[in-house]
């Protein structure tokens, strides 16, 4: 694994490598070479199984982190190719031509995070939330509790417990109340 990543570091401008386990490494590359590296890994290095594609919202840095997780069935190793894109007008080159299931991930990311993948089939079709007009629902700044408070009617007679407070009473009844209240609103 280390040899492979060292070999690719210069050509693909790999800037950050984390060996999470002996069989799992995450590498960070610039946006422009991410699809090239994924293609290289698939075509020449045996990473033929596309495990998943994911996105993490680093709202504090104004970035989305895209992840392409690939698996090599022969060496039984995984490489996660990460790249960061701007949150504003988020757009990424499509990888739908590499594996048949990639367009589904891209369609979901368009809906859930608002990241566009120009050219990806059916990328503008609804995935799980039909007729959604709010902010993309998986962004960190989408407040689920506020949305449900504004959208749905409260049920009279229903008692609600703060989950953290309930757990504290149940699990640690003798613990003094020093912990700050968990903010589930965010």
């Amino acid at each position: 694994m280390k040899n492979l990543i060292e070999k690719l570091t210069e050509d693909f401008k790999i800037s950050d490598v984390v060996y999470q386990r002996p069989d799992l490494a995450f590498v960070t590359v610039p946006k422009g070479v991410a699809i090239s590296l994924v293609t290289e890994l698939r075509d020449y290095e045996g990473f033929s199984h596309f495990v998943m594609m994911s996105c993490v919202d680093w709202i504090e840095e104004g970035k989305f982190q895209l992840l392409y997780l690939l698996h090599n069935p022969k060496t039984k190793t995984d490489v996660g190719v990460k790249t960061f894109i701007d949150r504003e007008n988020a757009e990424m080159a499509s990888a739908h031509h590499l594996w048949k299931q990639v367009w589904t991930y891209q369609r979901e990311l368009k809906e859930a995070f608002g990241i566009d993948f120009p050219g990806s089939p059916r990328v503008d079709e609804n995935f799980v939330v039909e007729g959604w007009t709010e902010m993309p629902h998986m962004r960190r700044d989408f407040n689920t509790k506020e949305y449900s408070r504004d959208t749905y009617f409260p049920r009279p007679g229903r008692e609600t417990n703060d989950p953290a407070e309930y757990m504290r009473k149940k699990l640690y009844p003798n613990e003094p109340i020093t912990a700050k209240k968990q903010d589930n609103d965010k």
Binding site: S54, Q101, T144
Partner: protein, 398 residues
Amino acid sequence: MINKFLGFEPDKDKLPSLTAKIGDDIDLSSHKYQKIWLGPNHPGVTGNMAVELWVQGNTVVKAKTHVGYLHRGFEKLIERRLFVQGFPTSIRMCVAEPDTNEYLIATCTEQLSGYDKAVPEMAKWLRMLSLEMARLQGLLRGVPGQGGTFALGLGVQWGVYLRDLILDRFEELTGARVYHMYIIPGGVRGLLPDGFKERMEDNLRDIDDFIIRIRKLMFHNSVFKKRAKGLARITPEMVDKYGIVGTNARGCGVKRDVRKDHPYLHYDQLDFDPPTDTDGDIYARTWVRWQELIQTVDLIRQIMAKMPEKGDIKAQMPNVLHWKIPKGETYVRLESGRGEYGMYYVTDGSEKPRRVNLRGPSYTHAIALLEDLLVGADVADVHAIMVSLQTCPPEIER
């Protein structure tokens, strides 16, 4: 042959020729095609998912999968809660085998917080036992369920009864029948109750009988054989192209099993070889699952024989209300009854996860693969094809 003898041709041949191209150029106003919505009211045992079909006569010319009917935003909810509060939510992401979610989320948090080496031996064996019991109850529903899609309902009734016996064992082990919350960070919640092994052995003996009876009922049945053979064929070339995993891949000869390829817990101490077949059709996939049924029963017996009688079941963990996990990310996978089931987990040093993303096999099987496999199929076989891919909608829309 029979048609020639009776002197008539099938009606299908009198319909307009199948000229539609796969794509958006199907003109419904030409009256050659019809659109049918299948679902979302539990089509077969897959449930909560709709398939939009364009048909010409009985033949499907285009299909689209629609999900979102039970979207509750599990991943988003977990991101807004403490690590331990994510457990009750995570198990709902797959109703068919909820224990797999427990294992994934527990292992992710353990790996990122450095407690993965602290999990006691006894807990690892008990985790394996609960995962194999979950696989067994899933197969008891899944194998006869495939017969059910071809109107072979008797096996389903046998299977559901036996599955209930396994749920009884789950109830005495964990206190719950479906959502167990048994695997927790650092270990498991309890030891085996007294007499558990004996009662489990009684159930396994009943399941041994069922395995023989279901073989005669399904695989010696000419209707099942005639309809399932050659239907929805998956070739080895399609496996990587579509991201096919589990029994769907093994049914066409691609031997991939996370338990063998990336042994976790104590699977390397168990004696088993994942079954495969070569045809890649529904019959082959069901045959592989039937063999897995035998294998799972055997694995449970091996686990119960090899596991220690006593031991710690949980590592000393931090106070869950103040548990902060350093910044990091990981991907953990296991072999569920439907194939590779994984979780991508990101932490940012706070008391809550930054991102939790489930990788369920249905995400690829029920969308990209299903939509292509349905083209050219008879409309009466659509349920069978969906069930043969072991579609589980909750893991698609998380």
